[in-house]
Symmetry: C2
Subunit: 578 residues, 2 copies
């Protein structure tokens, strides 16, 4: 499969990082670009070739644990040899010291080539970052270091069979068992569900980060999410013995199959040994710091899958001839890209895929900036970076199938697998509905509005750029009007108050996301036009116009539904569903 | 799997057929209802149980042909024993004489239970109907009769590897070989792609209906779609010998796997023997008569899959407890159906699934009426009946997965397979894009507008019913305004003219479909409120309101995009995609 042309183009990535976001100095940029090129080659050589195979040959559970496709381990060995597990850890930490935004650009290649293989290092890096942030020096050396080196992999153990979105109901319990060089030591018992990479045979050890509640002296567990603490629970203990963790089952997914996904039982015998990270009851706060980056990673994965589908269907539409222009009879069939309906389907995918890619890299850059403004913007935009690429990425992949016609429905073409793989993204790491409540609640209605004001400043800066061009000033006005409308809806929801304000949160999230992506498209178009030669990036200009012409009007419709404050859904009686 | 509750409810079907569409007399209705109940039981007992198995154990090609899952044959044997292959053929033709609308209601159960098993009899009936319409008495007795009895199955061989949507480019050739009791006899050579049921081991013979061009004396083929003729090409010839048809390959699909799908080579040796049906060069016209019913069948299949996903996710949302109301802490978790976002997701599925079901049964009733008005309306609505359930059925199944969260992404639940199965429907029997061109071209811009005027009359009759209720009159006004807007857009497109008028045909189709479904929802709601006791059908009333509140405003957005007549997509240069 010579799909390398379908991986994120380094010209596009360089434009986003350097021309658009102005990251780094000239000499750094050359190094980073070389690394992005290297990532693309590695993705093409070692990740792409087993994309279909990893879908067919699922991870299997045997008596000695979970076995994954050997090609995954081979690919990750090469990845490790290039130091990529530590891509955006500092050099003192044993990493390559790349900015997060640059590492995301590299990641987009691995995720586009093989999203489920790329999940292992992403989970591992997120795990190590959390230990670095909150762990003791001994914990960092013992657990984070082998992860940064890529010898050990990491997992996040949050969900339980009865507690997915609602972590307050976590029942895994931890009982203090003493103290040693690695900190306060506990025995854990409980079941953890949906654990990606929960077991596999590709790394020497697995570092589980587990949310659990410390039992009171009477054996009861504290209630609610504030009672949750965080523990490091390795598969193999420092003395080389196996910890008390059993793989109780493996989930058979519709897609994303290369990433093993397990039900883990902690403490079937004496209790699994774990060391607490940070203070008791700080678990959820710590986890959410990490979750923010994990959510950008999910968004980037979704964007990358959408991008590959876009590129594959573009190529197909250029090469497949079928039919003639309307009103024309006879003559040779034309490439289907010349048919306006197909052309629109390809341009729509571009607007979604590259819009999502830009959104995630922008958020990655906010992570790197880490100043007060950047942190406020990042908090506001993270639910968008998670949900928008996920929702519209699946839609882009749906369109990629349609462009391929019947062929797209067969497993001879990659687009059907891209669609199935991408469908996980609106679910894991917080469903779209959860992101909507986060955006509308914590980030808007229950905040002082400061971060939204900052966002409006950034948007105003973009429209100021646009006002320099007569033909672009109109789009700037449309964008400002759209955001005025969003603010009016927020004000009305604030007045409405109560739980009812959240009834249409998901539709609000979707509209807000469209507003953010429209802004970023306009900003990118301005940067493209400012290039000495805009021609190589002329697609940015067309995709921007497409988004404003055909996507924003739909978002206005969603906003009008939110603004109507209907009680219909809430008041629909249960018998009406019967 | 005791999923019988997820199959179309006979109370709903009775409401649609009898209370809403007023089909049949009291005594007939009792018989039909008993048959619908019987169909539901058969679907639950013989079709549902192998739903997953047929997905896992795909049809396989061996040296003696294609083998399908034995459970499919067992189910179809029972189906045959009940005479259901001939459900809506007249009693003189050896059928049960059911109206098409009633047989569609029965079909909805089989399609919901197992869409790929139900495809065999649907294809067979469509095939037999075509032979009955255009064949000679000898052809009918020889080929259609065993199909009506369910002993032989039928296929439609239209597409070729290079000619899918564009049948004008068909290259299969037929050369006259004499004449016998079955009519003009030809030898056929060519490759036919995407042939559903193209080979299988469940029936004694397979009757292929093949589109081909009769070669001129110089060996050349006539150009364009007007040169196409139709042929009966059986797998086993009347003398018991094998015809010259080879299974060159089997397509490995993402879903809909129980239905074998083949590449057939006709005439690898001396040419496959076939008898012409009707006059030379009438092939496409004949095929399209049949395609109209086949397209309603596709829509019904899509509606049925959407309906099952709706019912499964409703049940899941009632039984799965997770989280609490916003602002509430502590206490037991609530069934997720109480969360407004989940409630909306379930109601949205109901609006799509039952809206699609009603649309298809309405069109089935137009087939039965067969008067001039009904035929005009049917021609106009067929592209909607094909495309709207397909597009929004897939969306409904997507939502069903989301309601299930992570569980919905696993193969332990049926919703992921429903989604995969349904994804075929916007592709086969004419893609959504093809339906859009048919609606906007042949049915609207290139017509005298008579059928649209008839549709407006029906809509006006519905709004007149609604005006009797103060609280419903408003919805009637909204509906009329929406249709005025559609007519204004059509008038503008007529003025625009040329191929450019079709640039946004797909978006126009989608909006037109929403307008049709909104009308049918309002009409159903009026019928529900007119019942002696509306309570059992109160869900119809809520779903109608939901559709008007949250779906129609979006359709207005789509119309505004069409009305803008943008040249952007058409004028986007190819280098902008690079």
């Amino acid at each position: 499969m010579s799909d390398i042309y379908a991986l994120p183009d380094s010209g596009l990535l360089a434009f986003l990082l350097f021309d658009w976001l102005d990251i780094g100095h000239q000499d750094e940029r050359e190094t980073w670009l070389a690394m992005i090129d290297m990532a693309q080659r590695l993705a093409a050589d070692a990740f792409l070739p087993h994309y279909r195979e990893a879908d067919i040959t699922e991870p299997r559970l045997e008596t000695d644990g979970v076995h994954i496709l050997p090609a995954i381990q081979t690919a990750l060995n090469l990845y490790r040899e290039m130091g990529l597990f530590g891509a955006n850890f500092s050099e003192e930490q044993g990493g390559l010291g790349l900015p997060f935004a640059v590492s995301l650009a590299m990641q987009s290649n691995f995720a586009a080539a093989n999203v489920s293989t790329s999940a292992y290092p992403k989970l591992t890096a997120a795990n190590a970052r959390l230990i670095l942030a909150f762990g003791t020096p001994a914990q960092i050396e013992q657990f984070a270091q082998p992860e940064i080196e890529g010898r050990w992999f990491g997992t996040m153990c949050l969900s339980e069979p009865q507690a997915g979105s609602s972590l307050a109901d976590v029942r895994t319990r931890a009982i203090l068992d003493g103290e040693d060089a690695l900190g306060a030591r506990y025995r854990l018992t409980g079941n953890k569900m949906w654990i990606s990479g929960g077991d596999q045979d590709a790394s020497d050890n697995i570092v589980h980060l587990v949310l659990a509640k410390v039992a009171r002296s009477d054996g009861s567990l504290p209630e609610g999410s504030k009672g949750i603490s965080l523990f490091i629970v390795p598969k193999i203990l420092p003395d080389g013995s196996r910890n008390d963790i059993a793989v109780a089952g493996i989930n058979h997914k519709m897609g994303f199959r290369g990433t093993s996904n397990c039900l883990l039982n902690f403490g079937e015998s004496d209790g699994a040994i774990g060391w607490r990270v940070g203070a008791e009851r700080d678990g959820l706060v710590q986890m959410f710091m990490m979750m923010n980056e994990a959510r950008i990673d999910v968004g980037m994965g979704a964007a990358a899958l959408a991008y590959r589908g876009y590129r594959l269907s573009l190529r197909y539409a250029q090469e497949r001839s079928q039919g003639r222009a309307i009103g024309v009879r006879g003559g040779e069939p034309l490439p289907i890209l010349t048919h306006p309906d197909v052309r629109r389907m390809v341009l729509q995918q571009k607007a979604y895929a590259e819009g999502a890619l830009a959104l995630c890299i922008y958020c990655g850059h906010l992570v790197d900036r880490a100043d007060e403004e950047a942190e406020a913007l990042l908090a506001l935009l993270t639910p968008i970076a998670k949900s928008w690429p996920s929702e519209f990425g699946v839609m882009a992949n749906d369109i990629a199938i349609q462009v391929h016609g019947g062929y797209g429905y067969t497993r001879d073409f990659a687009v059907e697998q891209l669609w199935r793989d991408n469908r996980l993204n609106p679910i894991h790491e917080g469903t779209t509905g959860i992101q909507a409540i986060d955006l509308l609640g914590r980030k808007l209605l229950f905040s002082d509005g400061g971060s939204l004001a900052l966002l409006r400043e950034r948007i105003a800066a973009t429209t100021a750029r646009a006002s320099a061009f007569a033909e672009w000033d109109g789009l700037g006005t449309i964008l400002l009007t759209f955001w005025d409308r969003i603010e009016a809806v927020i004000a009305a929801l604030r007045t409405r108050g109560g739980a009812e304000a959240f009834d249409d949160a998901t539709l609000f999230l979707r509209a807000f996301g469209h507003g953010v992506v429209a802004w970023l498209w306009l900003d990118q178009a301005m940067s493209a036009l400012a290039l000495a030669d805009p021609q190589p990036r002329i697609g940015t200009v067309y995709a921007c116009r497409f988004f404003f012409e055909t996507e924003l009007p739909q978002a206005l419709g969603w906003l009008s539904i939110v603004a109507a404050h209907s009680d219909l859904v809430r008041n629909t009686p249960e018998r009406a569903f019967a």
